[in-house]
């Protein structure tokens, strides 16, 4: 059964508004709390708790989405929770409320990304998944880009607090878009990877255990790739932004904004192509392309000082981010096929990536303190190169019908 255009369009816009809402909870929370007279100690505590919940929550959230009879309902509940935390953050910026909001938001975000992947897989099936996740990545990056502009403008012209009201407001169109998707068109078993269409389309008797998942070599290898990717990638933008602040005084804000938004535009442009190519040529060539963009970008960032060139180098960020954003749900869908544990597997890969990301900023921070920013970039380039080697040497092709 082919999904209706109405459901597909609903998914487009749901992904778009989810990205809007999640962007609101980025590093901007620290800016907001600072303007609410919070001490740096309390801000650090709240952010760290949020990060830990986001890490620890991935696997349980994946299991929850696998078990949920309706992925749509799970996504809807997560959206409501995030809207509530945005409102709470804006309305009562006091410690217990903000701490609870940060935890709630992090937990709900853990549910959202597997839920979106599950709805996609349930709607379109494995054969059309490449194209679908390409489209998802496009709408997500459009959402992030638009929200970055909206947040910048709201914060500048109205107030930092208003940003969180805007964030909460985006929950309403997100829920409307979710309601447009027809529940009946989401194949429940397929949504958590229960059907192995490659073999016979039979439904499995029982779901694979976490232990048996962790013994699947492609999943473990891919989780390691995700960790190395984030270990190399996550610190780059903050490091770029902080160098830009020291170099270009008056224009720093504009240059940093461009360094954030330009890659998002790039992701929006290339993602559908990445998804289609993943179906046509296989996952490996694209994964190699994405991982190759990373060390090149890091080396260029170590060398380039001109702000225009810097923004141009950020186009490579768009390529790497697009490949990673498309390939994670796609490759995990390949690997988890027939296990009934698609979302749990996504959680495993997500947690590996999250660990890499949180170590990345810490490591790069130390390196740039001790040896200077260029050395920190070269260190990140070395990690990225290790990731590239891992993909080259150990990561198998997972496209169905490949040996």
């Amino acid at each position: 059964m082919k999904p209706s255009p109405r459901s597909l369009r609903g998914l487009d816009w749901f992904v778009f508004f989810v990205a809007d809402v999640l962007t609101g909870f980025g590093p901007f929370v620290a800016v907001y709390l600072t303007s609410q007279r919070w001490t740096q100690l309390d801000i650090g505590l709240v952010l760290t708790t949020g990060t830990l919940v986001a890490l620890a929550g991935q696997v349980p959230a994946g299991a929850l989405v696998d078990a949920a009879p309706s992925k749509r309902l799970a996504a809807g509940c997560a959206m409501v929770a995030i809207g509530a935390s945005a409102l709470a953050l804006a309305a009562w910026p006091i410690f217990p409320v903000v701490q609870a909001a940060a935890v709630l938001q992090a937990a709900a975000a853990c549910v959202l990304s597997p839920a979106i992947a599950a709805i996609s897989l349930g709607l379109v099936g494995h054969a059309a998944m490449g194209e679908r996740v390409g489209r998802n990545a496009r709408f997500a990056s459009l959402g992030v880009g638009l929200m970055a502009v909206a947040m910048g403008a709201t914060g500048y012209f109205i107030s930092n607090r208003a940003v969180f009201f805007v964030t909460a407001a985006f929950v309403i169109p997100a829920l409307l878009a979710l309601a447009v998707i027809r529940e009946a068109e989401i194949d429940r078993d397929r949504a958590h990877g229960g059907i192995n269409e490659r073999i016979d389309g039979a439904r499995p008797h029982r779901r694979a255990s976490l232990g048996s998942l962790m013994r699947r070599r492609p999943l473990v290898t891919f989780a390691a790739c995700a960790m190395l990717f984030q270990l190399a990638n996550a610190a780059m933008l903050p490091l770029v932004a902080s160098t830009v602040t020291t170099r270009s005084g008056q224009w720093a804000t504009i240059v940093i904004a461009a360094c954030i938004i330009v890659p998002q535009v790039m992701v929006a442009v290339v993602s559908p192509w990445v998804g289609r190519s993943g179906q046509r040529y296989g996952r490996r060539p694209l994964l190699l392309l994405g991982f190759a963009a990373l060390p090149i970008r890091a080396i260029l960032l170590a060398a380039v000082t001109d702000p225009y060139l810097l923004v141009a180098v950020q186009l490579l960020d768009g390529i790497a981010a697009s490949v990673f954003g498309v390939m994670v749900p796609l490759i995990v869908a390949d690997i988890a096929r027939g296990t009934g544990r698609y979302n749990l597997s996504l959680g495993v890969v997500g947690m590996a990536g999250g660990i890499g990301a949180s170590l990345s900023t810490t490591l790069a921070g130390y390196a740039s303190d001790l040896f200077g920013t260029p050395v920190a970039f070269l260190g990140l380039a070395a990690i990225a190169a290790a990731g590239l080697a891992l993909v080259w040497g150990l990561m198998p092709e997972t496209r169905p019908g490949q040996p």
């Binding site: 600072t34 008056q250 720093a252 804000t253």
Partner: protein, 170 residues
């Protein structure tokens, strides 16, 4: 005079300032000392017990809310009106003398901001009684952008206008 070097490793700032206790307050033309001294003349002073000899009772000073302001999270502007960030901390030396305000400078949506210490004497506050509570600093963004980042447990680099630094030792 003997310094405690174990403490010095934790708070080198304090030791830097240690040697100049003498003229720290004297040199503080319009810093905190001057403000407090000026302010205490006008407001009502009272003691809860009423008697001057009641040593166990706390004394309280009442300021008009327009004469004082809290400082944490307050926005700082350059004299040209550029946004210089928000005050996130205050640094004092061992005498309790305020040396610098730590400002969260620059960035976009929380990316690229740096913590920079600015000499307390370089900050200008709106005159007493005025409704505005803006803080300005006699520095431009271009002067602040390359400043050494403020970190706990590292030597403090305080940025000031050329004539406002209270000591060349910084």
């Amino acid at each position: 005079m003997r310094h405690d070097y174990r403490t010095a490793s934790v708070a080198p700032v304090v030791v830097l300032a240690w040697s100049m206790i003498g003229f720290a307050a004297a040199n503080d033309r319009d810093g905190l000392f001057a403000r407090v001294a000026q302010a205490t003349e006008t407001p009502t002073q009272y003691s809860a017990a009423g008697g001057p000899g009641a040593r166990s009772e706390a004394a309280a000073i009442v300021f008009d809310h327009q004469d004082v302001q809290s400082i944490l999270g307050r926005q700082v502007l350059s004299s040209a009106g550029e946004d210089m960030g928000r005050v996130i901390d205050i640094v004092v030396d061992r005498t309790g003398q305020v040396r610098a305000a730590v400002i969260d400078f620059g960035g976009f949506l929380g990316l690229g901001n740096r913590k920079v210490a600015i000499d307390w004497g370089a900050l200008r506050f709106a005159p007493t009684g005025s409704k505005s509570d803006r803080i300005t600093v006699e520095l431009t963004r271009d002067q602040v952008r390359a400043a050494t980042e403020y970190r706990d447990g590292r030597p403090l680099v305080v940025l000031g206008a050329a004539d406002s630094l209270s000591s060349t030792q910084y």
